[in-house]
Assembly symmetry: C2
């Protein structure tokens, strides 16, 4: 048996709940930070997260929910960050670099910190001084809903040194979850961000009435664009068609569970950003991501017609009809 | 205006009907060979194909249906072959090399001639002595049903010399159809065959209850496998993520219109091959293709675990449950 560790999971959403299910299923203790106190009490009493993946039974003999983030971090030597990127800065504001010293921190975030335009790995390094060797990534293709249903899924676990990714992979793997080890923490994290933008684009086109033929051209072009962008921002030597990149894009762009696709769909059908967000009652991370990536790309100047189109629609208020028509002339 | 040509389209199915719609829409005359005499008479009388894409109006001022293949070929200087691969040998049996001399022949087939295990380009070359410079390919991603609906679609037109592909592209392009020129006639044609097998695999997994997460891993792996196979059988220097390869795979594997996916779905749910074929009343080309590719790959020995799994299920009668379980251990 492996050495006994305490894992802290930060975040109370679907993905955090799925990760808690996986890790606790492997007989590992989980300290689980959830902001909302009532949710913490509910889980302790009823063994279910009332708001997300509520069918999943939480094994409270091994899972210890708490609304005190400092306490959870203190009691854990490994931390998994599963908070929407837009809320990370605020959520971690109670913590100091000292609190995170010597801990392994894995990001399962799939977004960019809007205040600093950084992927979580860079944010943790620059703001909390976490060395890159202690930072890891947990990435899909993986909808939380299918983990809840115990449908066979694959996660890619990336870290710059094999030790920590191997351990994290062992904690996550089970009968219905296979793990893949990678050393690419920057490329996987950018890909996880970009795919939300492409899923949003895919939804917009669907909402406008474009069909499956066009969708296939759009997604093929998105894979090439993702390759171009990731190659610009880091030393990328992996195959863009590996499941952490192309697979993650496909599951998000083609799946019924994708919030980003649903959000895009509403924009394509003529909803305003505000009314789409109210209607969905969920954050479409691609909405924030496209603004951040747009900013970041001012430096790298990668050719990104699809990202540009989504940005123009959401932030420059260009009509989706016009913008996608222009995009369609550039695609092939 | 371009020089006046006569185009012969051979085949009476959905794809042939969509191509006839496109070409005749560009004010080009089409001699249309359809085996079934009653269908020919019906089209002449009612301006619609009674069996496929029956909503499409056939402009009989420019489209001349006939059940006499020799006559159609004789009167046409360009031929488009749009017959299911399994019936090509029989359909062309009335023709001699002399009949096809000096004609440009474009294959829109997406299958392998089962009797000889050749892609149509090789078959036309070896059996009718058609030089490769006179052979072209018309390939997707493009479901005929969406051409009928005039949904924006993209076709790749490949020929070894730019002259003929450019002309063919002009005849096909219109408001809702964009064309891409390529010189890769072998790779595009193999990709068009392989994608049917992968769509079949995708359907089998869906029928077995695997979810979207697994599907994304499967299709990412299929793209890599397609790249491996195509690189083994020809000098392949294109990007496998171009729409003629990856796009064609995506539209087939993810679309509701895909016969191969539907067929696979039934196999996954426990139907026998025979009962699935009777139920569908349509040919799933992937069923024949996997046998041919399996034969062809004996020579090239490309690593093709997905193709092997489909072959084992359909021809070695291995249980889909077991075979896909074994496959899932190889994927990543």
């Amino acid at each position: 048996m492996m050495e006994k560790h305490n894992i802290g999971v930060l975040g109370g959403g679907s993905w955090a709940t799925a990760l808690v299910k996986l890790i606790s299923g492997n007989n590992v203790n989980v300290n689980w930070w959830i902001r909302n106190r009532e949710t913490v009490e509910y889980i302790k009493k009823y063994n279910h997260n009332p708001r997300y993946l509520s069918a999943v039974e939480i094994r409270t003999d091994r899972v210890f929910p708490s609304s005190q983030i400092k306490e959870v971090v203190e009691q854990s030597d490994w931390i998994i960050l599963a908070i929407p990127a837009a809320f990370i800065k605020q959520a971690l504001s109670a913590l100091t670099p000292e609190d995170l010293r010597d801990k392994y921190i894995f990001s399962a975030v799939k977004g960019i910190i809007p205040e600093t335009n950084e992927i979580p790995a860079d944010y943790l390094h620059h703001t909390f001084g976490v060395p890159f060797e202690k930072i890891g990534i947990i990435t899909g293709p993986c909808h939380a809903e299918e983990v809840a249903l115990e449908k066979l899924s694959y996660l890619t676990i990336a870290s710059s040194e094999a030790y920590s990714s191997k351990i994290m992979a062992d904690w996550l793997a089970c009968r219905y979850l296979k793990t893949i080890i990678s050393t690419d923490i920057i490329g996987t994290e950018y890909a996880a961000v970009l795919k939300n933008i492409y899923a949003l684009a895919s939804g917009i086109c669907n909402g406008l009435g474009y069909g499956d033929n066009f969708q296939a051209v759009l997604i093929s072009a998105a894979i090439r664009e993702m390759n171009e962008f990731v190659s610009c921002v880091c030393e990328f030597s992996n195959n863009i068609n590996d499941s952490a990149y192309t697979g993650d894009l496909l599951v998000t762009a083609y799946s019924q569970f994708s919030r980003n696709r649903t959000f895009g769909n509403m924009i394509g059908r003529g909803y305003s950003v505000k009314s789409a967000q109210i209607e969905m009652n969920m954050i479409a991370e691609g909405y924030y991501a496209v603004k951040c990536i747009h900013e970041i790309n001012k430096k790298y100047q990668a050719s990104t017609p699809i990202i540009d189109a989504v940005y123009n629609i959401l932030y420059e208020r260009i009509s989706p009809v016009i913008e996608i028509k222009l995009l369609s002339d550039k695609l092939q």
